[in-house]
Amino acid sequence: MSEFLIRSLDASTIFTIAALGELIGQRSGILNVGIEGVMLFGATLGFMAAQTTGSYLVGFLVGIAIGALLGLLHGFFSITLGGDQVVSGMGIWILGFGLTTYIGNPYTGPLGMDRIPSVLGVSPFFFVGLLLVLLTWFVLSKTSLGLRIRSVGENPSVAEVSGINVSRTRYLCVVVSGMFMGLAGAIYSLDYNPVWNYNFLMGWGFISLALVFFSMWNPFILLGGSLLFGILWQLSLNPQLVLPGLLSRYLWRTVPFVITIAVLLLISTKWFRSRWGAAKPEALGQPYVKQ
């Protein structure tokens, strides 16, 4: 049972970090629906780099770097070119899905390195995740940088008039956002489940996207949501823990997706949403054109 809890925490860490990245971007007004693609890139290139060099550090750095690059690309499409952010995000997802399938294929199989040692029984990244939640909350709500980010996400023209460089602030956020997603992908392929197979993320990036909407853009609610999803996923991957022999193994594989939709449904009802104040960035998804 404790093994189960540990795995749940490990899974939730990946949701937390990826969704935090998305939250930072969204707070500045940039929606990136391509998290899955960024994570696939971070996971695949991180895996390849770690296996080639034999160094975990290199693997994670590569994962973060490719995340930053893709964040920059999304920024270029949606900030500089002022394009539709959903189209750009979709592009990044399909690019990630298509290209990693091809370039990762020769690396199909286990990583074949010693597992990353656990700290106090759980993956060290669990603590990294907690730290990032605190840091994100602190920067967004307690610093002048955070105020700048939020004002750019709420009302870019007013922010611009008050002397904030909207483009630069948004670029900063999408790049950091991409780094978080790339790191989350690398944690999946190097620590959580170090076996490469094509399109192995099974929609975790899309779930992280849903988590941000769920969190009302609050890092702490986001952490809670990630823990919930981590436990639910782990439960459905280990059916013998709940109801041995009830469903066939293929049907059990569908359970996480059923649960995800059910939870989304529950938290989107008026009843649930009226309990929490929404803080949706007003300018989310709208390209900003300086007049």
Binding site: T101, I103, I261
Partner: protein, 377 residues
């Protein structure tokens, strides 16, 4: 950028004609193929030879061309599954799942008529084929109704829900056709039972009749968007959901309707591929590959800008390129996934070229010394 007395300037487009859009799309595809050459070069393959092989296999070769045509029918159904919600500003990326359910529903009809246990030649194709088509459409529509409903009623991101349903239905197919499943092949090869020969779809010049079906839908959809009230409502909702609500268009009806229609068409793709394509006639072991291929529908839909008629040549081209890509992968012993990589590169090139839907590059004589050239940011 300046060259002598002329300068290169970006100008915001006020209108975009169909021909301009087509030109931009062609440029995007050419650009993507140029970028994609890098992948061939990195694999020590001459890109010119690779492209020559891709196109000749896809569009000339007597073995390749029928595969391209069948893939084209499949892809056009998937493109329409994307286009209908897209015109309402919604993203259906669940065509893979709706396609799986269409396939399952088709085989459910066969199963219900006892086609699995005994090879019953008394089964009348005149009754069963329409039933299979109907079941496939309804199956896809029911799956499509889920994201339509959750979007319309609870405003849940349709992107997330459709993606979850893709994975869910992938495992549902495995449940039905793999060990112990209802539709399992008696030989147990991880595929479904084969359909009786009497129920094979009618072929016209070796092409399944589904080609007429999908082309009829092309006209029907074109007519719907151009001339009907519901088409107008869908477009109005896509332009501005809030304004459409004020105009009395139901916020639930449109998302639900477009997803039901889109899902039904993706469901028909499931009938087409596993019950009408010569030589298949069962839910194949690699059904997941076709699910992945369904994502080409997103690119076709975006390139054709939601125009059902423009989607026809685009789907034909991409059907051929993915088919040829798969062929050269074996022919030139490249790694697995060339057609996936092509999908990715095409998509990102298209995203980049979307910019030119809004801006054009013009050469202008410079009149003033100082000119502020650049993209507004």
């Amino acid at each position: 950028m300046r060259l002598g007395s002329t300068e290169l300037k970006l100008e915001k487009r006020l209108t975009l004609s169909g021909w301009q859009a087509a030109l931009i799309s062609v440029l995007a595809i050419v650009f993507a193929l140029l970028i994609f050459s890098l992948i061939f070069i990195l694999a020590d393959v001459n890109p010119l030879i690779a492209y020559q092989k891709i196109f000749s296999y896809a569009f000339v070769n007597p073995h390749g061309l029928p595969l391209t045509v069948n893939r084209f029918i499949f892809l056009l159904f998937c493109t329409y599954a994307f286009i209908i919600p897209y015109r309402a500003g919604l993203w259906n990326i669940g065509m893979a799942g709706q396609f799986y359910i269409g396939a399952l529903a088709t085989y459910a009809v066969l199963y219900a008529f006892g086609a699995k246990s005994f090879n019953n030649s008394n089964l009348s194709p005149v009754v069963i084929i329409p039933l299979m088509l109907l079941a496939a459409g309804v199956g896809g529509a029911v799956l499509g109704a889920i994201p339509g409903f959750t979007k319309g009623k609870y405003n849940i991101s349709e992107i997330v829900v459709t993606m979850m349903l893709n994975f869910l239905t992938f495992w549902l197919v495995a449940q039905m056709i793999k060990e112990g499943g209802l539709f399992m092949n008696p030989g147990g090869r991880g595929e479904s039972f084969e359909m009786p020969a009497s129920l094979h779809a009618p072929l016209i010049a070796d092409i399944p009749f589904t080609i007429f079906l999908v082309l009829a839908f092309a006209l029907l959809l074109y007519y719907m968007f151009a001339k009907t009230k519901i088409g107008y409502q869908i477009r109005a909702y896509g332009k501005n959901p809030a304004a459409a609500r004020y105009a009395g268009i139901s916020a639930l009806k449109i998302p639900l309707l477009v997803f039901i229609m889109g899902g039904a068409l993706a469901g028909l793709a499931g009938y087409h591929y596993f019950a009408a394509v010569p030589g298949v006639y069962k839910i194949a072991r690699n059904y997941g590959y076709f699910g992945d291929l369904a994502f080409y529908g997103i690119i076709c839909g975006l390139i054709s800008q939601g125009n059902p008629l423009a989607a026809i040549p685009v789907a034909f081209l991409f059907a051929g390129m993915s088919n040829g890509g798969r062929f050269v992968q074996g022919e030139l012993s490249l790694g697995f996934g060339i057609d996936y990589a092509l999908l990715g590169v095409l998509m990102i090139a298209l995203v980049a070229f979307q910019f030119f839907y809004r801006y054009s590059i013009v050469w202008q004589r410079t009149e003033k010394e100082i000119s502020d050239v650049g993209i507004p940011n």
